[in-house]
């Protein structure tokens, strides 16, 4: 029965390891800094997305705050930031544990949201339980209204899948009505949370608007070749091509569409179209391509943001989630300035206050940011917002899209 | 005890065993001879179930056993050794011997199995070494262990595949005594062997194969004097 002896040794080791790893819990609150923590996918399958949208903006904001001498508190004093960043390795279990660590071991003052729809949903109950506000800037979720009831501290800033679908319809419908488009839609979507939510929202919205969905296919993660799908889309005779795709797919879809001289009157691929690399990757010949998001290129605040992002981080931000994330940090900053480090009060302020951000003056309705660019289009080298069509600073949609060259 | 009818095995285009018939009566010790590549080991593998036959029928102790998996054939009371010693080194020596007991037709495990395993080890000359590792054994002792594993279940029939190959003269004598002891206890044995001394001493009857077919079957002296057999072994020039 020698296993028992070894078992005891193992058990002792387990206990020792576990206990030592929890000793030296967070240091006393001597308030020489404000501790901000976050866990995002620095590595793994989500890293490409997180490193394009979330991480650069967290870093940019931290530098901006530092340059300003720290975060201002209600009494006018300033405290520097102390940033604690973890890598969730693109695994939810690691993310959940990192957030627990930030809240309970590091005892940070605020936790910034992770990257991605699923990951934000996965930690929403934790943020709620620990009482941290969650400013989710990279989540497109369905049935968004139920979420803020369930987790009152959660704020969903990138809109719902239904909103994207309706905004797209708002752009398309007038063109269909005046005969510029034939009203047929070919849609492909990635078989992943993002693609499914958006495509199911779109399916409904298209039908309601009387558009004819002549092609509706999903493709799995990891698909590299879209030649057959594009062939079929072209063959369907649809004037409107919509793809709810991920960045790699978006690039491939665009490249292959150009190759095949497939030039539908509306060409709308998914995430990645709004990435800065999209234009140079296509020799700048992206005029008229539509997608999710957009910016008001004429806004001085946005121009300043773009310039600082490029100057400080050495690369341009994407034109969808990046400004939203940066604006969410400004909201957090201003809420802290008004209410201090009391997280409950900060959450309440986020829910009800009005904030001055690079996206203009923002306030949330039912914990959601609804005043947002849902659909954008490449026009003269910028990915500008074209819908909601009644939003200030809106650009007119160019339909039909000009030829690829 | 064992009856083989029209046994045939093809590997792709190669016919390793071609329509072999023979039978072995209870208590008999029969030598299976033939030059290298004549199909002897394949016959052993077909009987023990290691390979399925292409054609033919094998009956053992009144039951048809071709197409049966080896573990079910073993349970009927047919044990074997392998041409190249095969043991299970992650088990202690005694456990190597207990294995077939534990999975016999009437499984024996625990004290009783240990007792019978130790008895079998003693029988083959490995008394008191049950707790050692297989790696501690030299070649002859590994062969002994393999034999202990084969006989511990007290099988009705034993297949020995060149069990005495590679032994020095002293070891060979000991090995022959062991087999003789088994024969005297009434065990039916079919053995493939190249050592003529052992064959003459142990087997009253021999079957000779060449190129997959049976070329002789009869009393050892007669068979070994048969010109066909000599031709098969030594080539035409010597006839």
């Amino acid at each position: 029965m020698d296993f028992t002896r070894r078992g005891l040794v193992a058990a002792t080791a387990v206990c020792a390891l576990t206990l030592t790893s929890f000793s030296g819990m967070a240091a006393a609150q001597d308030r020489t800094s404000i501790r901000i923590g976050y866990a995002v996918s620095k590595t793994g399958v989500n890293a490409a997305g997180a490193n394009t949208t979330t991480i650069p903006n967290y870093e940019l904001w931290a530098q901006d705050v530092e340059a300003a001498g720290g975060l201002t508190l209600p009494d006018g004093s300033k405290l520097p930031l102390e940033i604690i960043a973890y890598d969730d390795r693109s695994a939810t279990e690691d993310l959940v544990r990192s957030v627990e660590r930030l809240a309970r071991q590091d005892e940070v003052d605020f936790i910034l949201a992770p990257w991605g729809t699923g990951f934000n949903l996965a930690v929403a109950p934790l943020f709620a339980r620990f009482g941290y506000p969650q400013l989710a800037g990279t989540s497109v979720v369905p049935n968004i209204d139920g979420l803020s009831d369930r987790w009152p501290n959660s704020f969903w800033l990138l809109g719902s899948s239904e909103a994207y679908a309706h905004s797209l319809v708002d752009v398309l419908k007038p063109a269909v009505d005046n005969g510029a488009l034939n009203g047929k839609v070919a849609m492909i979507s990635i078989a992943d949370g993002f693609g499914i939510e958006l495509s199911s929202g779109a399916r409904e919205a298209f039908t309601d608007a009387g558009l004819d969905l002549v092609m509706d296919k999903t493709y799995p993660l990891g698909t590299q070749d879209f030649a057959t799908l594009l062939q079929e889309a072209e063959g369907s005779g649809a004037d409107i091509f919509v793809a709810y795709s991920y960045p790699g797919d978006t690039f491939a879809i665009t490249a292959q569409a150009k190759l095949a001289s497939y030039n539908p009157k509306v060409f709308h691929p998914g995430v990645g179209t709004n990435f800065p690399v999209y234009a140079p990757m296509n020799d700048g010949k992206v005029e008229g391509v539509m997608s999710l998001g957009g910016i008001d290129a004429n806004s001085p605040a946005i121009q300043d943001y773009l310039a600082r992002h490029a100057e400080i981080l050495g690369k341009a931000p994407d034109s969808w989630a990046s400004p939203v994330i940066y604006a969410s940090l400004q909201m957090l900053q201003q809420a802290i300035e008004r209410k201090g480090l009391d997280r409950e009060a900060v959450s309440a302020e986020l829910a009800s206050g009005t904030f001055d951000t690079i996206l203009g003056s923002l306030s949330l309705e039912d914990n959601q940011l609804k005043d947002l660019w849902y659909i954008g289009q490449w026009q003269n080298g910028n990915f500008v917002g074209i819908s909601p069509t009644d939003k200030a600073g809106v650009a007119d949609a160019v339909i039909p899209k000009p030829d690829w060259n | 005890m064992l009856k083989v009818v029209n046994l045939t095995k093809r590997f792709g285009g190669l016919v390793a065993v071609n329509g072999v018939d023979f039978s072995v009566e209870e208590g008999e010790v029969v030598g299976l001879l033939g030059p290298n590549g004549s199909g002897k080991s394949t016959v052993m593998n077909l009987i023990s179930g290691a390979l399925p036959p292409t054609l033919g029928e094998i009956d053992f102790d009144g039951q048809r056993i071709d197409r049966r998996p080896p573990h079910r054939i073993a349970k009927l009371g047919l044990s074997r050794t392998f041409q190249l010693v095969r043991l299970t080194p992650s088990l202690k020596i005694r456990d190597n011997v207990i294995l077939p007991l534990a999975f016999g037709v009437f499984p024996v495990f625990g004290r009783e199995a240990e007792k019978r395993a130790d008895a079998a080890l003693e029988q083959v000359g490995l008394a008191g070494r049950g707790d050692r590792l297989v790696h501690d054994l030299n070649y002859i002792d590994q062969k002994r262990l393999e034999l202990a594993r084969a006989i511990v279940t007290n099988p009705k029939m034993l297949l020995l595949d060149e069990w005495m190959a590679g032994l020095n003269p002293t070891e060979l004598r000991a090995a022959m005594e062991l087999i003789a002891g088994l024969r005297d206890s009434g065990m039916t044995i079919l053995l493939v062997e190249h050592i003529m001394e052992a064959v003459r001493a142990l087997c009253p009857r021999c079957i000779v194969m060449s190129a997959g077919t049976k070329i002789a079957d009869g009393s050892t002296d007669t068979v070994l004097a048969d010109p066909h057999v000599i031709e098969a072994y030594l080539g035409k020039a010597h006839v």
């Binding site: 390795r89 992943d192 993660l221 | 992650s90 016999g104």
Partner: protein, 309 residues
């Protein structure tokens, strides 16, 4: 030492592990869940792969099936019943797959098991997108982290007890013999296919349950979340490091590696992958053949004292 003492020590150890969550914070609970999860996964993996030496990368296929079952049924059945259903589904898949594949050997099985995990993930994704049109699913089950930990601890106890029971029983002989030489085992009367199938099924059910128990911690699951192939690799590495041939081997591999990974992830988040890679290489070189070989050396030195085990 007697068998009674062994059992007593095991019970005391289990009680101590069960008491661990008291007095440590919620982050500690999360750590315990992660650790216990890998203890179960590595031990269950080794239950089949250790003695038979089949290197399986199908861990996440079953883990994901468990988690996904919870996601599908969370609103319809009580959690206990869901666990039963998950176990049954895991068993069914394991038997089906096992019957088809256990004659593959060596690296072919490795690749097959990896392909299986991918196939399951692709099929579930396709089904969800094309048939139900919902890929992500919410899991709202009222269960605390500590309760999850206790469930996993119970599963770990069952896994280790099973391993112990197998080692004591005649099945243990068969299992080791199969690992050494299947032909010998067959000719000794062992129904090799049956034994392998049974082990594969038991191991798979345990892994399925581990996935099911943990699923409520994530709130929201998608196939890409629960069928993350890294889980298979980490499990494999932990079990191999500790030594899958021994009852406590996987535990001995899982615990230090888990803490090491955790430490690296929190201390060096930006160099995580590089350090992890170097650690892997270092383990292979500094602990040749894994901790297993060290344990073998101890065993060789102390083989006399083991004789009455």
């Amino acid at each position: 030492m007697s068998k009674q003492f062994g059992i007593l020590a095991f019970v005391v150890l289990t009680a101590a592990m069960a008491a661990l969550p008291f007095g440590i914070g919620e982050y500690g609970h999360g750590v315990l869940v992660g650790m216990m999860s890998y203890i179960v996964l590595a031990s269950a993996w080794a239950l089949f792969s250790g003695p038979t030496r089949y290197v399986s990368l199908a861990t996440v296929a079953f883990f994901g099936i468990g988690a996904y079952t919870v996601a599908v049924l969370a609103d319809h059945l009580p959690f206990g019943a869901i666990l039963v259903v998950a176990g049954v589904i895991g068993l069914g898949v394991a038997l089906l797959v096992g019957m088809a594949t256990l004659r593959l050997a060596g690296v072919y099985f490795v690749i097959f098991s990896f392909g299986l995990a991918e196939l399951v993930r692709q099929l579930i994704t396709w089904f969800e997108t094309s048939v139900t049109h919902t890929l992500g699913r919410y899991i709202f089950v009222e269960i605390t982290t500590v309760q999850i930990y206790w469930l996993l601890l119970g599963l770990a106890v069952i896994t280790l007890a099973l391993r112990w029971w197998i080692e004591q029983s005649r099945l243990g002989l068969a299992v080791h013999a199969i690992g050494d030489d299947e032909t010998v085992a067959r000719h000794a009367g062992v129904n090799v296919t049956g034994v392998k199938l049974a082990l594969f099924a038991v191991s798979s059910v345990l892994i399925t349950l581990a996935g099911a128990i943990q699923a409520p911690r994530w709130t929201y699951v998608e196939p890409s979340i629960v069928f993350n192939p890294t889980i298979s690799f980490i499990t494999l590495v932990m079990a191999l490091l500790g030594g899958p041939g021994r009852m406590w081997g996987p535990v001995a591999g899982a615990v230090p590696l888990y803490f090491l990974f955790e430490w690296i992830a929190t201390r060096f988040p930006d160099q995580n992958a590089v350090i992890l890679g170097l650690v892997f290489v270092a383990i292979v070189f500094l602990v040749p053949g894994g901790l297993l070989s060290l344990i073998d050396k101890w065993r060789a030195r102390g083989s006399g004292e083991q004789s009455h085990a």
